[in-house]
Symmetry: C2
Subunit: 185 residues, 2 copies
């Protein structure tokens, strides 16, 4: 694995902090300390905090859908595809031991720059459309939309509840039940 560029190191540090404490839990001085440069140098890469936030969500969203598409690559049935979606969220919880960046920022929306909120909305819009696309073709469009929203909402809620109760098994309890319903027409 070759050396990371400074912007990448900064985004890594920012993602770690922001997914645990939220937007305001990330400061330029913390990021500078994390990457062994000075805070003024952080401003060179991301002039305003809003720029950092937007870049972070863009990378997070891109990575999310790459992992998701890879996980769903060999899946053929709606159930297998839903399991790939589930694993992608579960991996975020297991490996990062943190909530979804966009779930957290969505909750904090009122205090955030509009450019940041727009990127968060796009993440959810993409999530819902992806899930709509894997549901059984015979379902009517509005029913697909409804179920996609349930599935995305339940995954977002499950990752928050599991994190709060410090028990990752709660995530599986919540999402396994969803799987049992996916095939039902």
């Amino acid at each position: 694995m070759r050396d990371q560029t400074m912007p990448t190191k900064l985004l890594d540090a920012a993602e770690y902090r922001m997914r645990r404490g939220g937007y305001n839990a990330v400061s330029y001085r913390d990021l500078a300390a994390d990457t062994n440069i000075k805070s003024s140098s952080v401003h060179y890469h991301f002039p305003r905090k809003e720029d950092l936030g937007v870049a972070l969500i863009e990378r997070y969203t891109k990575d999310f859908f790459e992992v998701l598409d890879k996980a769903a690559k060999d899946a053929t049935t709606p159930l297998e595809k839903l399991q790939a979606f589930n694993r992608t969220y579960r991996n975020a919880l297991t490996h990062s031991k943190a909530v979804c960046l966009c779930g957290l920022l969505a909750a904090e929306a009122a205090g955030l720059p509009e450019a940041v909120n727009a990127k968060v909305e796009a993440f959810f819009d993409g999530n819902i459309r992806w899930v709509e696309g894997i549901l059984p073709a015979e379902l009517p469009e509005d029913e697909k939309t409804r179920r996609a929203i349930v599935i995305v909402s339940a995954h977002q809620g499950a990752i928050i509840v599991a994190t709060s109760m410090r028990d990752a098994n709660l995530f599986d309890s919540a999402t396994t039940y969803l799987e049992a319903q996916i095939g039902v027409t």
Copy 2:
């Protein structure tokens, strides 16, 4: 309606701000301005911010379960009781146009005082146990727990997704589907 005491006014202002921007979006100076006193006077009522946070979650939790029990008072079937639970969350979204205080603080947990996190956990624990209590008696305990977690998670997620997408109907789309499953044994 008689005059509110200053602690109540402060908690009202704090709840409004915290449910929109999170824990760090609430400052003593903002609360002082909201209630027409000085920030040092706010410290008289809540010496440390942690005290304010704990008091706010305690009140929020008490109010939540009072509204919930009242809404479920005349409900007899599991479905009717679930609908009361659903209405309680939906009211929070409709009237406050904000996410659940505890859902937001759970997501920000890593940056918050331990006393605050403990109160947030207790809110979720109470939520899950309440829903377990309304599920059909013939279900095995572990299945009741599983379904309670799905229901609480889905409501938390739905309020966040609906807020982010600025469409309260998404909340109904997500939760109506849950209702259709409640009676299934």
